[in-house]
Amino acid sequence: MAVKSTAVGFCGDGIRGDCKVILEPSNKPQVRITSTVEAMFGRAIRQQVADVLSKFGDPPVSLTLEDSGALPWVIEARLEAALCISLGQELPPLASKSPARKRNKKRRTRLYVPGNTPKFMPHLGLFGASSVILDLEDSVPEREKQAALSIVRHAIASLDFGQSEICVRVNNSEEAKAVSRAGAECILVPKVESAEQIKHMADAIQSVQSDAVMIAILESALGVHRAYEIATASERMVAISLGIEDYLTDIQAIRTDTMWETMFAHGTVVNAARAAGISPLSSVYSHVDNLEGMREFAAWSRSMGFDGVGCLHPSQIGPAMAAMAPPDDAIEEATMIVREFEKAQTQGLGAISVRGKMVDAPIYQRAKDLLAEVN
């Protein structure tokens, strides 16, 4: 068996909640462990390392673990990734702890987090995002892809994400399979330009018997041009979104504050999604310190017809949610419409007048949708 030297993960100054695993081929296997929490968890860490090594058949490696306070699932993920890379193996199967949940709520806010940064992950369920997106794509350098996949799988299988939908942005169908099996509820497919890409990805998810749904991100002129085909390519498709920076580069536009250069793509995505009966999602707002800007962007996105926006920092969620929430008077009116219409139905009436405006079935439905969202 050929054993490769490898190093996975991070430790040292400025690193919290992570660890680094270094493996070297060795005929005399040995284990060296240092930890910032040695006094409190040293014994538990040594036991965990021994257990994982035994699961891999105690391979001929010398293992160094430098721990900066990693949680047990992070240590597990780092050890597994290092051993798999070193021994040239696939990541071992990891089963989900619970079946994917069905979601009815709109994806108002989706919070992105880099896939190879475990310290952020235990808190992700606390911020009230509609979805959290563990990212394996742009935020992860090429050489860390496998380590990140290991972290993301274990995060999904170990952590409580609260009411937030668990999404993963993947690079390929192999990753989609691995994270779907671990319990991902939604797969984000980046750089989509054709219906075939979506069908291929849907087949991969199907092959591991997952119920995960899909969101396509359109990031090129061709992708936007084919928005409707993509939106209707699979039953699993629930939304399409726009990767605006890549798109603008592709169409050779110049970024301005007016956002005029983005109008066609934004409008196309909304129209294609609505025509396909799925949800249009606006892009992320990247100025994380400008919360007023976030609020304006979310309000603008909502007025365009988008159901939600992307967030890069949890502090963006509150302003975004507030900007997209229906105003109080709309809620009050919807409450009255639903009450009056349901009363009229029991009396056999199909259309009534509320505050001097005619209310029929579609208006009743819209009022009900609005209330479903705020309750």
Partner: protein, 514 residues
């Protein structure tokens, strides 16, 4: 070793002085009179008011420095202090030994002074220890015991005569030849000099050291020159970049922002916040974010504070200038805006540990504050808390004003539920620093727990729809993903320090950690 009323062991003799164990809040009744400094007369001093001498060496010689004396300094320069280093260099030249250094706090910049312990110049440091100096003491390398006292308790110890100061060396950012001094002016301006007031009044001998000598009078003075024996002028007393930060930036840590928001929400909805209220918040990440959030709520609801107790920062200064508070009562000044405001605004007042925190005095402002927001390293299921040690038993923080501020009407500990895998809610504290009777609320990113003693707050929170949890529930949730409770620290080594309660009794001990 003896055992006190909260079941903690303590040495009955601390650096040669016999001590008593903690007897519960208010359990210890002091007797006797305050300590008095020796009587001196003006005939011993220049009638022209010139007390300057040419160097610290000369000043120390004039002061009669000899082996075993206790010398105090202060931490108003925080990590930019250059005085302690100069002081002990001067003492070294006089060939003395076994001095006791009695600082109001130590900082990482004081690591260089450890060489004087190795050489025998300093016998031990009697104060709150942290950083490299704390590591040193926890490793058992310091002779004598570290004595950890809160700011209020340090004042009390000096005034009661528990801690006799032979020579106090007070760093003065601006000073005249008579010894009148202020921290609000000069190149090393740091704000208030409150921490030095006890030393000025009660030490046998007082030396002011300054890099900014101004003609008499240095006005308005914070400490009058009538307490001062000698004035030394030196090149530099502090590094301004380390004394105050230019701006105090809001934390970006999502969970800290979330904790601060939960605190503001709790305070805003349970009636703790009301018109004319007061609060204390420091310069830590959560405290600063809390100030920002509560300011927003106060603006929206048109509520004003009567006073805010600092640690003053830019945010508090903005609140003062905007009219959201009528006063800042400032214990120490954390940034340049705080220094400016203290200098310019008559409603920004300097306080000392006597006027803000002293338990052995005729009333205590600490208990008049509507709400105090504090941190902790550990909390047990009865709301008792630790603020001085790591969970492995090593010294981590000084007590600062923490114990003193526990007396507020609503004391809130705001803390992350775990740090680097180590859960904060513990079955048993590594070091017992503050009784749960005084701790009303614990807020973590995973929920808010109210002390069952505060049924009024529980009812108010329930009526306002503020979700509550219990410390037990937080403990369980966090232990589930941290891999169980941490192994308890091994507290079997010899004692290396004691933690005093505000009344001078010993509440717990710190032990040598191998």
């Amino acid at each position: 070793m003896s055992v006190n009323d909260v079941g903690r062991r303590f040495p009955t003799l601390v650096n040669g002085r016999s001590v008593e164990g903690f007897r519960g809040i208010g359990g210890f009744i002091p007797k006797g009179r305050h300590h008095g400094a020796p009587i001196k007369t003006c005939r011993d001093f220049s009638s022209q008011g010139d007390k300057t001498v040419e160097s610290l060496v000369v000043a120390l010689r004039n002061a009669g420095l000899r082996d075993g004396m206790r010398i105090s300094t202060h931490h108003h320069f925080r990590n930019g202090d250059l005085v302690a280093e100069q002081l002990f260099q001067a003492a070294e030249q006089l060939g003395v030994r076994d001095l006791v250094w009695f600082p109001s706090a130590v900082f990482p910049c004081h690591e260089s002074l450890l060489r004087h312990i190795h050489s025998g110049l300093i016998h031990h440091i009697e104060g709150s220890l942290n950083g490299p100096v704390g590591e040193f003491a926890s490793a058992g390398k310091m002779p004598g015991l570290a004595v950890l006292r809160s700011h209020g308790s340090r004042y009390r110890a000096i005034q009661d005569g528990d801690a006799l100061i032979d020579i106090a060396v007070i760093a003065a950012p601006s000073c005249d030849a008579f010894g009148n001094m202020t921290g609000a002016q000069g190149p090393a301006a740091c704000g208030g000099l409150g921490f030095a007031t006890a030393d000025a009044q009660f030490a046998d001998h007082v030396i002011a050291i300054t890099d900014h000598l101004v003609p008499f009078p240095c006005a308005p003075w914070q400490i009058p020159g009538n307490y001062v024996d000698q004035v030394v002028v030196t090149d530099r007393i502090g590094d301004p970049t380390q004394i105050v930060s230019g701006t105090t930036r809001l934390t970006r840590s999502p969970e800290r922002l979330l904790i601060a928001k939960k605190v503001a929400d709790f305070v805003g909805k349970t009636g703790v916040l009301h018109d004319g209220w007061s609060f204390q918040a420091g310069a830590g990440g959560i405290s600063l974010a809390f100030a920002v959030y509560i300011r927003e709520i106060m603006r929206e609801r048109g509520l004003k504070a009567r006073f805010i107790r600092g640690g003053s920062t830019e945010v508090l200064v903005e609140m003062l200038e905007e009219g959201l508070t009528e006063f800042i009562l400032d214990g120490q000044t954390f940034d340049l805006e705080g220094v400016r405001s203290l200098r310019e605004n008559p409603n920004h007042l300097m306080t000392s540990p006597f006027t803000s925190y002293n338990y052995h005095s005729k009333g205590n402002i600490a208990s008049m504050i509507s709400c105090a927001l504090l941190g902790a390293t550990e909390v047990d299921l009865n709301f008792n808390a630790n603020v001085v040690s790591h969970s492995d038993g090593r010294m981590l923080h000084g007590i600062g004003g923490w114990q003193d501020a526990l007396f507020s009407e609503c004391t809130i500990l705001a803390l992350p539920a775990f740090r680097n895998r180590v859960p904060v809610v513990r079955e048993s504290l590594t070091t017992f620093c503050g009784p749960g009777e005084l701790i009303d609320v614990v807020v973590t990113e995973r929920g808010t727990a109210v002390n069952p003693r505060r049924q009024d707050l529980i009812q108010a929170a329930t009526e306002a729809g503020v979700p509550l949890t219990t410390l037990q529930a937080i403990k369980q949730e966090v232990e589930a993903f941290c891999g169980g409770p941490p192994e308890p620290a091994s507290l079997t080594g010899r004692p290396v320090g004691v933690v005093t309660w505000v009344d001078g009794t010993i509440i717990d001990s710190l032990y040598e950690i191998p």
